[in-house]
Symmetry: C2
Subunit: 410 residues, 2 copies
């Protein structure tokens, strides 16, 4: 008898028929003698609708009210999932984040988990009940409902798996696992059998949406093995785990694409120590996430600074940059280009394989894709390119590293 | 400075524009210097959708899960209403039933209020905040979310008004107040300025849906004056209050119609003491609400028993009656007629005016409406009639008591 945590994403509980399907799957695990904790997301589309409603009432809704609003999505799914299990004769109870003892700090809409008591989950499991927990939410020490940010039901699942010492944590979604590239763009992309936490983190940071970054980070820190698989079939999925030596055999594990990027170019920046630091401080104060950064020295002690941001932050970034220009008394010019995409290759094998960057850049050059910015980490190379070339760039890079299904292993 | 409770029904918060309208109204009271507690219902249609979803998963969903599911409707409205107030520059916080300290027993989906602590409502009001409370819900001593049954946000409002010693409790809805008859059926129906709790209770029991019965009962027991008015205009509305002598000047305050009734006719019932009691006991065990009851003695010590029920209970009532037949070994025949309506006239003036029944029955007879059952209370006369004649019956009775707008006072 094992204790397993299963997380069902929004598309896996999108409508009543899909909720019934999830229930049948949960029943199979329960019939198998396992103790099952289920974490559910809001039905696909619900959270977006609630956010749209809130923003149409107020541009920047109060965080506390936003959390009370958003948590209704998961609460709805958890109760309906319990009912679907009851209909199959499975005894099940649902628990909100608060009832499951998920305690957080008070940072509404982006709370961090402080402690998980588990509430009466153990007791319920020992009585033979399936327990369904509403994802993405907890309760602050002041007794206020909090949420962890978008797609954070993964985090609830991993954190509960850790708190309850679960044997396995399954992330059930609408795809068969983690792929060498987005299969909607590149149909010959291959499912990855095993991937290390670090690779998964880099892929998530590079635009792959399969598992939320914070959940992977949590899983890494607490050594929770994740299985990412489809809720609609019984294919084995992808295991996300500690790095093992054989993982370095492959130079590149996968290719990720992030659209909706913008590039901010600042020319004529005074090349004085601390000036750029001040710029990124101002951006951080406004909670603008800066991704790639490049600085180069121009003429006469003036530098150019270029960085990328999410396109939705464009307006706020522009305001922040102008505030910085006034504060430091610079005569910098700002230009923002918003049709940008980021293509990345990720793999722990980069550490031991040489020529990965050369292979990538050559492939892009041959396809006529102009590289605007480059940034690298130990196991990742990212390039910013014109959005119009994004999908083609993915395809040529994917093919250059022979990641396709039919290709022989490199 | 007064403390007022305003309750907005589902049609008054049906969409974002209506929520904005409610917020403007709340702001007006707040600007006026009043302390305002707002109770909100789920947006019109939401509760029905949730119930439909639940029942499509399971014929009789678990009460606890049902309550967790249904409360999302009010939670959504309360957060959106707070945001709409923020957008108008009004400081406001929302509270769930649990956060407002509304403690109930554990009877899920039909919980009764045990105690109201008010949580931090007083403190919030004293700080100048409007407090928005989710209607129709509370928390049991075991910490489980409970609900009070359909349309029970009125009850939340009245109970909070009592607990907080509010000066007035306004029930804001989509009609101008309580009318002498349903204005959708009888356009010349007149708005009632003042009505006693007892009349209001009889009207609610007789099918008028303007204010929930339990809320009126609670208001009566604790002497809370209710003002029923439209959220879409500034017309004065109807005051529901203690009976005063002048209320007896009018014989009939209003006419109510309840459709969706069924009549169960049992013939050949053994005329032995306790037999009928046993029948209604069996019906009560199955939670079937019996309304009008008539019994008469037939031949040879056999009685006929006729009673009315809500048409939705027909199937369950039939099963219960057959169980009773087996248990008492009767040879009764059962027939159920489901196209029945109930027309009632209500007024405290009936106590001192004579001939009310005669006027009503004559009007019906002249219109060719056959009376199938009659039941009376001190201040009400109800008749069961053929559903097809229901609206005409209302019209002729309304006119017989000269209740129309243009008529001279009786």
């Amino acid at each position: 008898m094992a204790l397993i945590v299963q997380k069902y994403g929004g598309t896996s509980v999108a409508d009543l028929e899909k909720i019934r399907n999830a229930a049948r799957r949960i029943k199979a695990s329960h019939d198998n003698g396992d103790q099952v904790v289920v974490v559910v997301s809001a039905r696909a589309g619900v959270t977006n609708r609630l956010i749209r409603d809130a923003k149409s009432l107020q541009a920047e809704p109060d965080g506390r009210e936003m959390d009370l609003l958003l948590t209704v999505g998961e609460q709805e799914t958890m109760a309906l999932t319990a009912m679907a299990l009851h209909a199959l004769g499975v005894s099940a109870v649902s628990r909100t984040g608060a009832q499951a003892g998920i305690f957080t700090d008070s940072a509404h809409t982006r709370a961090r988990i402080r402690k998980i008591s588990g509430g009466d989950l153990r007791e319920q499991l020992d009585q033979g009940n399936v327990v369904i927990v509403a994802g993405f939410q907890g309760i602050s020490e002041e007794g206020q409902v909090t949420t962890f940010g978008r797609n954070a039901s993964d985090l609830t699942a991993v954190a509960l798996a850790s708190a309850l010492n679960a044997e396995t944590c399954q992330i059930l979604t609408d795809v068969d696992g983690v792929f060498t590239a987005d299969p909607r763009l590149i149909p010959e992309a291959r499912k990855i059998e095993e991937i290390s936490y670090d690779e998964m983190l880099e892929l998530a940071g590079a635009g792959s949406k399969v598992v939320q970054s914070r959940a992977v980070e949590f899983a890494k820190n607490y050594g929770i093995e994740l299985v990412v698989r489809s809720s609609f079939n019984n294919n084995p999925g992808t295991v996300v785990k500690e790095e093992v030596a054989s993982m370095e055999d492959v130079a590149v594990r996968g290719v990720a694409l992030e659209k909706d990027q913008a590039k901010v170019v600042l020319s004529n920046v005074p090349d004085i120590p601390g000036t750029a630091a001040k710029l990124f401080q101002v951006l951080a104060e406004d909670e603008i996430n800066v991704d790639m950064i490049v600085q180069n020295i121009g003429r006469a002690g003036k530098a150019n600074v270029t960085f990328t941001i999410a396109v939705e932050d464009t307006y706020r970034a522009e305001r922040a940059v102008h505030r910085w220009i006034e504060e430091v008394g610079a005569k910098s010019k700002v230009s923002i280009i918003d049709q940008i995409a980021k293509v990345s290759v990720v793999g722990v094998g980069m550490r031991s394989h040489t020529g990965v960057a050369a292979t990538m850049f050559t492939a892009l050059a041959e396809a006529g894709v102009n590289i605007q910015l480059i940034s690298t980490s130990e196991i990742k190379i990212s390039v910013a390119i014109d959005l119009a070339k994004a999908e083609e760039a993915c395809r040529v890079v994917h093919s250059a590293f022979q990641l396709a299904r039919e290709a022989p292993s490199p």
